[in-house]
Each structure stands twice: as C-alpha cells, then as structure tokens.
Symmetry: C2
Subunit: 318 residues, 2 copies
C-alpha cells in the first residue's frame, strides 16, 4: 500500500506516522524533539523512525513522499527559519536534508497551514474553497485557504495570525515581543495570563490564588469553571471575547465560509465556545452576519498534525 | 477597436470610460450619482452614456463587455448590497439589469478589488502574485491578491479591511457603527477626526482652531503640515502610525510582496508616507522585515477606477 510519511515537528514532541490516501495513520510514533541538539542527528532519527514504522507495519508499505509540518516553516524555501521553540537556529534547509535521507518527494509547511490542507483533503472542509483553520495550543496558529488554495504569501510565511496586534500597540507581549499580539491573549498560555489578570483586577476568592503560574494547567481552568470559580469564568469570557473580535477581523479579510478550531483550548468546550459564538456573531459586520460557521475540526485530535503533514504530498496525487 | 465599458459607481460620482486592451481609457465621462433616485433611471443613464461615448469616439469601437466597480458589491451574486453611500437600498441585481441593457458580458466587483485587478493587468503589479491595494478616500478599501488570484471570499465580500477593529472594541465608530474600525482613523475622514482629537489633547496654536470640521479639507491639512502646524504634524504622524500597525497586521495574514497605496490621502505625500514607512518596518514581525514594499499605484489617478472596472472583463481576454 502507498503511504506518505507525515512528520509533525513540534517544540516538545516530534510525531511521525505513515498515512494512507484516505488520511488514516497506519502506524505512528513520537519522540522528544529537544533530545537532539544536532540537527543532522535529529533528521537521522526521523529516517530511522520511518524505517522502523515500515518494518512494524502488518502489510507491506511503499513510502511515496514525505510531508512535514513545523513552526516557522517556509513552503517556498523548504526551510525552517528562526523558530522560537526549536533549539536549532538560523535558516534550516530541512527539505533538502530530508530528501537526501529518504530519496522521495518532500515538502514542508507551517504546521497550521498543513492542518488546513489536512482538513480540506481528509476532514470537514472537503467541499469548501474558503476557510481558516485556527490551532489553539501553546500559541495561536492559522492556516488560510481562499479560492481553494492555501495562502502561502510572498515567501511562504503567511498566516502568522497569532502576532497581529489588536491593541494599538499597547498590550501584552508575545514570546516574539509583539505588543498586543493575539496569542498573548488567545492560547493556552494566554488563558493562564488572563487568570492572573483577573486575579489582579478582582478580589473574589478563587482556587487559583493557591496555585503558582508555573503549576497551572488548562484542564484545571476548565474544572474550575465547572465548579463556578468566578476568576475562571471571567477568564474564559474575556478570552472568548478577544478571540471573537479577532475572528471577526479575519472575516473582513478573506470572508471564510467557516473557521475550524483545533488544539488544547478547544478542549475547554462550552466554556470557550459558547461565549465565542455569541460574541463573534455580534462583532461581525452586517454583511457577514449568519454566514460564517465556527466548527470543530473533523480530524482526529491525536493524528491531525501528521495527517495534515501527509496532505502536503497527497494533494498532488488526486 | 475592441473596448470594455468600465464603470465606477461612487457615492458622489459615477465615472464611465471605454478602456482598451492596454488599459488606456479612450473616452470618458462622469455624472452625479445622487441625481438618480430610481435605480432603473440610473442604469438607463449609464447605457445612454456608453452610447454617447461610442458615438464620440474618433475611431469605431466595439464594446465587448462591461465591468463595474462599486461599494458593497458582491462579485459572486452580481449585486450591490446595502451600500451605506448609495441611495438605493437592499440587494440590487446590477449585473442582471445592466446585461439586459447592454447585451454584453457584465461583471461587478468591490471597487478596491477592481482596483487590484487593474493594478495586476495594467499597473505596477504585473509580475506579482501576492499584493494588496489600499484605497484611501472617504473610507478605507482593500483589494487582496494571493496566489495570483483576487480573494473574493465565500460570497464575494472579502477585503472589508476598513472595518477591522484594532482597539479591542474601545475606539472610534465607523460609518457602519464598527467600534475602533480602521477607517475611522485611516482615511480622509479619519485624518480630519484626528485633527479634532489632537486639538482636544494639546493646547498648541493651530490654523484649524479657526476652521469648522465641515469646512475642513485634506489639502489644507497637507498645507498646514508644510507650514509646520503642530496639530497637522501630530495628526499625520498618528494616522501613519495606526496605518503602519494595520498594514503589519495584514502582512501577517497573506504576506504580500507589496502594498499599493492610492486615493486622496496618498496625495499628502511625504507627510503620511515617510512616517508610514518607518513605523511599518518597525511593526513588522522579524520574518517579514525588509521583504514588504510600500508602493504607489501605477494607475493614472483619474482613470484608475474605470480601468480597474474594465479589468474585470479584460482578465478573461488574455
């Protein structure tokens, strides 16, 4: 069976899977990215992992290509460039180096753009030509499709929507030092920062007054909201409000038919999604009201990233 | 000679021209839009004007199509819908009605999107696949090209960038009631509002303390800046600052190779463009720095709108 090696390079984990034409991951494996301080050792490890998956597979597989999703990836240059969350700095010629190791067609793309391609090939956007995938993890990522094509930008760095500033230059700093950058508010990290902000603003009791910032995890915020914790409820409402405004702004740009939401923050379910839907419809320009759907991704959470990466190759085999 | 009837429907003026394949307007005429309270009378007037231009032409012309640029136009529906600046309300089936009158292929598009198409066919964007045209008139319009195609959006209303909110919902209202909407700051009207704001903030002398808001025109603000008027200089700097932040945000969306600026506010020349360039480069994410050009439109100012409208037809005859 023909498969594509789908690779998701994350700051914490590297995930690798063999993905068939339908978008099903036949075999998969992951390891810690930061164990490899040398890029060549890291890419050797990926090659060996793919060989391992092939051997492990119950049916014979033929790897026809390699798709890679990564932060700060340029599809046009085949590189990762100055990624804040990776150890290897500068302009990394990943595609060239991977092709030397695997000898199959190889492509790389921003991870959120790869997710959008996965959604279009295998998920809930099969019939759509205009949509945006939003990934809400440690940061805020976006993959934008218009006219049935991914928007790459002039040299492949389009879609950095976590770094738009909606505060006239007078807000929180992102990890990249952008003042008022969206992901400083709307992301797992942003939500934690908003917990602090709400505790600074209000004097109400909250379980979070006994938890240090570094010990605070997203699931606990959801749990606190379920228990009626005032600070947690305020934080979710504030996060949803800012996210709604951002999505309304993005709508004015490319007027997508739908936003697909994926990633950790979405797991907070109704606490974020219910106020988000209400605020979003409210913020939309009249001409867009009732036309833009907020949807959950149709990709299985655990394999969405590697299937998206594999879609980079599968889109050329249809 | 084959020509396209290019029509620019503006809130104040309607401009009509016969545009050849090279984008040169052979003949043109304009009249006041608001003289026609009845839409059918208005469209009859357009038909008659086109006939008049044909007769007037020194060489025989053959009208092969009709392209229309208009506010709140949906290219997908062939309509103008609820345009704030036009007398006729509701959903206007302009393409259908115009085709009945002219019996040639007819298309309509948002005026700024038409301008972008004109820039790509006839102007300074001939070699580009990713760029954004910004029109700075009474309002703020945008035409976005990515992957060599105009971004229309799900039902043709993409590019309403004058209505993105960059103030977390806490700023000036636009004509459409959008809080913090960009065009309330960056447009001819926005600049006038900023003159008022600066006079409210500072006590410095200014010629504008003797001029009522309704008597204030853009050219006077440029003239005042040339004379060193403190309020005018502050207003230009503030306008350029917000515009730079907005363009940096838009860059994070589609990473254009260039922004093309056109319209009244650009006539203020260095007073707006010099600070704009400085602030813009400063606000860009690291990965975009030095890669995005701020350019003037290559379209002749007086005929840019009708040539853009004509481009809607000419793009299908290449």
């Amino acid at each position: 069976m023909d498969v594509v090696a789908g690779i998701d390079i994350g700051g914490t984990k590297t995930k690798i899977g063999l993905v068939d034409k339908k978008g099903d991951a036949q075999e998969q494996i992951f390891f810690r990215t930061r164990e490899y301080t040398n890029l060549d050792d890291y890419l050797d490890k990926i090659r060996d992992s793919i060989e391992g998956l092939k051997t492990k597979s119950s049916i014979p597989v033929n790897v026809i290509g390699c798709g890679i999703g990564a932060p700060n990836a340029s599809s046009r240059n085949g590189t990762i460039e100055n990624a804040a969350n990776l150890l290897w700095k500068g302009k990394l010629p990943i595609v060239k180096k991977m092709q030397e190791r695997l000898d199959v067609p190889t492509r790389i793309m921003n991870d959120a753009s790869a997710a959008a391609l996965g959604e279009m090939l295998f998920g809930n956007a099969k019939e759509m030509t205009d949509f945006i995938v939003i990934t809400l993890g440690t940061g805020f990522g976006a993959g934008i499709v218009a006219n049935g094509q991914l928007i790459d930008g002039y040299d492949g760095f389009a879609g950095e929507l976590g770094h738009v500033d909606m505060t006239m230059g007078d807000g929180r700093l992102t990890g990249l030092g952008v003042k008022g950058g969206l992901e400083a508010y709307v992301s797992a990290t942003g939500l934690k920062r908003t917990i602090l902000f709400m505790m600074s603003k209000y004097m109400n009791q909250s379980r979070f007054r006994d938890i240090a910032y570094n010990d605070l995890h997203g699931e606990e915020i959801t749990k606190a909201a379920e228990e009626g914790d005032f600070i947690a409820l305020k934080a979710f409402d504030h996060t949803a409000n800012i996210m709604a405004l951002a999505l309304a702004n993005f709508t004015a740009f490319s007027q997508p038919e739908a936003f697909f939401l994926m990633g950790g923050l979405v797991n907070s379910g109704k606490w974020i999604l219910d106020p988000l839907k209400t605020y979003f419809e409210d913020y939309l320009l009249e001409v867009y009201k009732g036309k833009v759907k907020l949807m959950q991704s149709g990709m299985p959470g655990k394999t969405a990233a590697i299937c998206g990466a594999a879609a980079l190759i599968w889109e050329n085999h249809r």
